[in-house]
Amino acid sequence: MSEAKTKNTKNNEELENTVPDLGEDYDYGFSDDVQPIYSTGRGLTEATVREISAEKDEPEWMLNYRLRAYRTYQKMPMPDFGPDLSDLDLDHMLYYQKATDRQYRDWEDVPDTIKNTFDRLGVPEAERKYLAGSSAQYESEVVYHNMREEFEKLGIVFMSTDQALKEYPEIVKKYFGTLVHMNDNKFAALNSAVWSGGTFIYVPKGVKTDIPIQSYFRINAENSGQFERTLIIVDKDASVNYVEGCTAPNYSSDSLHAAVVEVFVEDDAYCRYTTIQNWSKNVYSLETKRAQAMKNATMEWVDGNLGSKTTMKYPSVYLDGEGARGTMLSIAVAGEGVIQDNGARMIHAAPNTSSSIVSKSISKDGGAVNYRGTVRFDRDSDGSFAHVECDTILMDERSTSDTVPFNEILNGNVAMEHEAKVSKISEEQLYYLMSRGIPEAKATEMIIMGFVEPFTKELPMEYAVELNRLIAYEMEGSVG
């Protein structure tokens, strides 16, 4: 026993030598002493909902929508599946906090304390280097957004959803809440009642961009609820590549992130939506993400889930147009005390549609990582095809994994394949590497990197590097 321990420690030292830039703990766990200029205080009542709407000076229909959603939220039960949410204290949350009195376009104008946060997270640097546009949301409001002129000239609209409600009310009204109805689930109802911030993107017909547009979401205060609302419309034959990142400070009490994302991909259009979620281990991330793909359109979700206390997220694609295509490529890493309950839903509702789900999961130190997904072929899905692949590695005996896929086939003229595997680190691979003189910890890391590579290679270069670093950090000390 003690011998094993010595060996383990030694290997960790070696690991640190090979990967010198690993931090001591969660890198983004710091918090800033930013006093919000406006807050609705703790708890949620109808008055809070009215207050948020009034503060935002919203049109009547949105206030009514919020109020209906609030009543729906009160009536709806908690999810009857998946992780236990009984520790989530919804009465003690801060539902709306505004840190600045306006949005900034110039990074230099952002108040120092907040700027400092995002500087430490590397946000402005990323923008300078490789982004077409970038925004940053701090608590409930977007504090900064900017897009390069060349993209603005193409007619791409990129702003906070609040701002879009003011500047493009007809577009927002046409699409808002039509894909994710307020009564979809309790947390979608909650978001619909108290939503704030989030990203609005409209890409006009035929406009294509390869360079990503990024949003960064940061929770700062303790017991905060962040309810961003994202609406993306990719018009016919257009394309967009959207990336979002999320972090929060370490606190002893819990915060809640309950986003709703709706993506409309019109005929022949393309959308890739990449998320790197790295919440601190006191954040419940309960999200509803849904896309609709029309004729010959492609929707791709790329979803990386590293942190949080409990994540429940099952992005879906409604393949509503003939020849539409939907994909989900995801990784999830669950460490101590973490429950990652993720998956995807592909709904084939038109002929000749195709979908692919590739899910890679790693569970360690008693974490739980689950795949929960649905592939459904409706009556009119003749000639459609689906492929699902779930691979899980359990690093130690305390960790667990459930794979719960539902494949519902209502059409006889389709094909579906599903494969899944759960195992520990391959001893054969480990033995091979160690026989070549590579220490166990490094060998383990190499195997894990190989395992997640199909995912990282799909990320923009800078994200891939960052993700590899995060995974290496997560894996530290996991051999033994």
Binding site: T403, P405, G412, V414, M416, H418, A420, K421, V422
Partner: protein
């Protein structure tokens, strides 16, 4: 609104007394009766059977009890409806001390076996409403006990037929206990004569003691609405080979469960199913690895015609501590109609890392190239289709050890397919 119980406690006790039940068995019945309406429904993923008439009907009507003594010629058990079982034991089985008895006789003669194994391990009487209803209403069944070290060379055939003409609900129990180091092959056939608005609640419990080996083959041709539970409990190094042909015509809620309790126990589960007409066959097959070095494999192939629905839930569950265990499953569904519905839900629940677990599932239609080839050789569409299906089911059929059982299943498949095609062609 609280549901009305299916009978009164007085009727229940009168039935129990009329059948000379032991006090212990009578108590199990009464307790289950008092509990059943308050117990939750059994949960089977994606199968909604709430409206099925599974707790209604009258199981305790009078039936003429004729109990002729038989000549022991072959190893055969035959039971018509709720009549006492006709049992013929071969000389080999008799000499070996095999016990095969009608349910009511058995509980009087072997109370200790019932105390130990009847609805205590494989399916607990208070597990859910279906189980409790069964314990309260059971009106027929058999006990089979294979003593320690007995290895039977001849298969034991069981033939159970539901009699729907009496209008009586059929609540049937099979308790099979395979003693230490025993070896037996069971060939079971279940059917009901007519399609009637009447239900059946069928529970088979199999207890495999250490090193026991059971080959269990069954062909089901139920026409009634039925809950069909086959539940096995395996002790150390026991092995169970399942081969099931689900050729039912009624709506079926199948609950096939294997608990690999003892270290080194092993279950191979193979099933083929054909769904035709507008029926629903909901099949939940679960193997749970509790012991170390246990292995559980599920292979299910299904074919769906017309407007029928077939749901395959495969659940492989490895609990913490079941080190060096293996759980694999494969669910394949072939759809022969645009309006058919087929679900293949392969679920893995893994709480231990030193394991090998995997699953594969697929749903697809008949290979058009194969069809084209066969039809270009002059075969009709229906015949070509049946040939392709036979090929699809062949990998499971080939696993059935007994030629007799394999042929019986092949014939049943052929008949069921012809009926299904007829039904389809007349609808078109």
């Amino acid at each position: 609104m609280k549901k009305q119980p299916f009978t009164t406690e007085a009727n229940l006790q009168a039935f129990s007394q009329a059948h000379h039940e032991t006090a212990a068995m009578s108590a199990i019945r009464t307790t289950a009766f008092q509990q059943y309406l308050d117990l939750p429904l059994a949960e089977f993923p994606k199968i909604n059977y709430r409206r099925w008439p599974l707790y209604e009907g009258q199981p305790f009507t009078e039936s003429s009890a004729s109990n002729g003594q038989q000549e022991p010629v072959t190893a055969m058990i035959d039971q018509q409806g709720v009549q006492p079982a006709t049992i013929q034991l071969s000389q080999e089985a008799q000499a070996a001390g095999v016990i095969a008895l009608d349910f009511f006789k058995a509980q009087a003669q072997y109370p200790e076996l019932f105390a130990k194994y009847y609805m205590t391990l494989a399916l607990k009487a208070d597990a859910h409403r279906l189980a409790a209803y069964h314990a309260a209403a059971v009106n027929s069944g058999v006990l089979i006990y294979i003593p320690k070290n007995v290895k039977l060379t001849e298969p034991l055939t069981l033939n159970f037929q539901q009699d729907t003409t009496t209008g009586q609900t059929y609540v049937h129990h099979v308790l099979l206990v395979a003693g230490e180091n025993s070896d037996v092959t069971i060939l079971e056939s279940r059917q009901s004569d007519h399609k009637q608005a009447i239900s059946a609640n069928l529970v088979e419990e199999m207890i495999l003691e250490r090193d026991a080996h059971v080959h269990f083959t069954a062909i089901d041709r139920m026409q009634t609405v039925a809950y069909l539970a086959r539940r096995a409990y395996l002790m150390k190094n026991a092995r169970l080979d399942w081969a099931l042909g689900l050729m039912n015509d009624g709506d079926i809620l199948a609950d096939f469960n294997t608990d690999l309790i003892g270290e080194g126990s092993h279950a191979e589960f193979k099933a083929v199913a054909i769904a035709t007409g507008s029926q629903l066959q909901g099949v939940t097959t679960r193997i749970t690895n509790y012991g170390q070095h246990t292995e559980g494999n599920i292979l299910q192939h299904g074919v769906i015609l017309s407007d029928a629905t077939l749901i395959f839930n495969g659940i492989g569950h490895i609990v913490r501590g079941a080190r060096d265990s293996d759980a694999q499953q494969e669910n394949r569904v072939l759809m022969l109609s645009r309006t058919a519905r087929g679900d293949a839900n392969p679920i893995l629940l893994i709480d231990e890392n030193d394991v090998r677990a995997g699953h594969a599932a697929s749903v697809g239609r008949v290979d058009q190239a194969q069809m084209y080839y066969l039809m270009s050789r002059g075969l009709s569409k229906d015949v070509a289709e049946r040939l392709v299906i036979r090929g699809f089911l062949g990998s499971v059929l080939a696993e059935i050890p007994s030629t007799e059982a394999r042929d019986a299943l092949k014939n049943t498949i052929e008949r069921k397919l012809i009926d299904g095609q007829k039904h389809r062609d007349s609808a078109e």
